[in-house]
């Protein structure tokens, strides 16, 4: 029996059936693969935090290389000596928890390991007038402590995020940035080593302890980034808005940690 495929009713019926079939197929795939994907994302977070701490497989001056995914769990456990969570509201720390306290809490928003805290969700909590949980991952290498904090903001097209490692004077030790959909070859280059490496050694605080942040600056007179106390790194050509996004998220999210570092 030949179907008259030109009829409007047939077209609509076809569209409806197709959407139902395709929709359920995709929903099924997504839920079947979800555990694997979640696990991969968890390992990736550990790799990113370790990267910012300076524990990575980088060789020479090429691309960024993380510690091997299979070893990430063990490296994370041995290098991150302490995870703490600060509860802040209106710029003041109202509570400080150890990682265990946070992970064992019955509160719905807690009960996870601090490194799994979703920064985006915490930023929404602030908008709802609630307090915000700020995780901090501390490594202790022969008495030299390094503190890693997650940051998150907006690039040109979509979210950008990263991890910044600082010492107790908030001098940057290392940084890692990633993005969801910045333009390849332009904004996406925030994920390149030559951009990230520039941050190491830059200060976040003035000598009097005021938080200044780091500007991703165009046309500064220090393209090789040899001057480390100018609160500037060289911008990426053709990626003004992504670069501004990086400056903004550093200023906004890292500033929240200032009270903690002041009391160290």
């Amino acid at each position: 029996m030949a179907v008259n495929t030109d009829k409007n009713s047939y077209t609509i019926l076809f569209a409806v059936v197709m959407v139902l079939v395709v929709g359920s197929l995709l929903a099924f795939t997504a839920s079947a693969l979800k555990p694997n994907i979640k696990e991969n994302e968890r390992i990736e977070k550990q790799q990113n935090i370790l990267y910012a701490m300076g524990i990575n497989g980088n060789e020479g001056t090429g691309d960024i290389t993380f510690v091997d995914a299979k070893k990430a769990e063990a490296e994370f456990a041995s290098n991150v000596s302490e995870q703490i969570v600060l509860e802040v509201k209106d710029g003041k720390i109202i509570n400080q928890m150890t990682g265990e306290e946070f992970a064992n809490s019955k509160d719905a928003d807690k009960g996870i390991e601090p490194y799994l805290i979703d920064v985006k969700k915490q930023q929404t909590r602030v908008k709802e007038g609630k307090s915000r949980y700020l995780p901090l991952f501390i490594s202790n290498n022969n008495g030299k402590k390094v503190y890693v904090a997650p940051i998150r903001g907006k690039g040109l097209w979509d979210a950008i995020w990263g991890y910044v490692a600082v010492d107790e004077k908030m001098v940057v030790q290392g940084a890692f940035f990633d993005h969801k959909g910045e333009t390849p070859g332009l904004g996406a280059n925030i994920k390149q080593r030559y951009f990230m490496d520039d941050f190491a050694g830059e200060k976040l605080l003035t000598d009097t302890g005021v938080f200044k942040g780091i500007n991703v600056a165009k046309g500064n007179n220090d393209p090789k980034n040899e001057i480390k106390d100018d609160y500037e790194v060289d911008a990426l050509a053709g990626a003004t808005i992504t670069g501004d996004g990086v400056s903004a998220m550093i200023k906004k999210d890292l500033k929240l940690y200032l009270p903690y570092f002041k009391n160290l």
Binding site: T5, Y10, T11, M18, N36, I37, E44, G185
Partner: protein
């Protein structure tokens, strides 16, 4: 008689050389430029397109008498998009680092003109088996070019193949680097892919004069 008839064999072999989607039809150039800095990414992109185009062509061919012509482009898009999402999810689950490398380009398969082109030009008018062979042939033709370009770009740009150093160590100055050879960083830039594709087109057309258009 072999598994494939002569006509069927032609469906696979034609796109490999004389009707290659990249060098002759000039389709799919954007992904050929974007991801060929590494051989591994080229190979995976080839396999992903092989899957999407092979399966997609069969699906479209099976539905060809049912698809209302008014919305056929939308139907084709949905078929590609769903297949691409499945490929993306599978990569995320089982080859996470690779999916990070390919990131946006996996999504870009949707817009790969080879796929829509084959759906529209072949699968809508031919049976599933033929469409499957056509899809495989075209995807292989695409993959071959990607791999050739990837091979030269990774070898000359980074001195590695599949990430394994083959020319010695550029920092320690061993292997060919000992004789003053340097990696050509320019090979890692997308324009070089276009130049290599151009060279392939040149070689191909000088060997087969029939391909030259006036």
């Amino acid at each position: 008689m072999g598994l494939l008839s002569k006509k069927d064999t032609k469906l696979i072999t034609d796109p490999l050389a004389d009707n290659n989607p990249i060098t002759i039809q000039v389709l799919g150039i954007c992904s050929a430029l974007a991801i060929t800095a590494e051989l591994k990414a080229s190979l995976v992109m080839g396999i992903a397109v092989l899957f999407v185009l092979g399966v997609g062509n069969v699906v479209i061919s099976l539905l060809r008498n049912l698809i209302p012509s008014k919305i056929r482009i939308i139907v084709q898009l949905i078929v590609v998009a769903s297949l691409v999402i499945i490929v993306d999810q599978v990569l995320k689950a089982f080859a996470f680092e690779l999916s990070k490398t390919l990131s946006v380009f996996i999504g870009l398969i949707i817009t790969n003109c080879i796929i829509m082109g084959r759906f529209e030009a072949f699968a809508l008018g031919n049976g599933p088996w033929k469409s499957f062979l056509d899809g495989i042939g075209n995807a292989l033709g695409y993959a071959v070019i990607l791999i050739i370009v990837g091979f030269f770009r990774e070898l000359l740009g980074s001195g590695t193949l599949f990430g394994i150093p083959v020319l010695g160590d550029p920092i320690e100055k061993t292997g060919v680097y000992g004789f003053g050879y340097e990696n050509n960083g320019f090979m890692l830039m997308p324009p070089m892919a276009l130049i290599i594709v151009g060279l392939i087109i040149w070689v191909q057309r000088s060997r087969n004069k029939d391909l030259i258009e006036d």
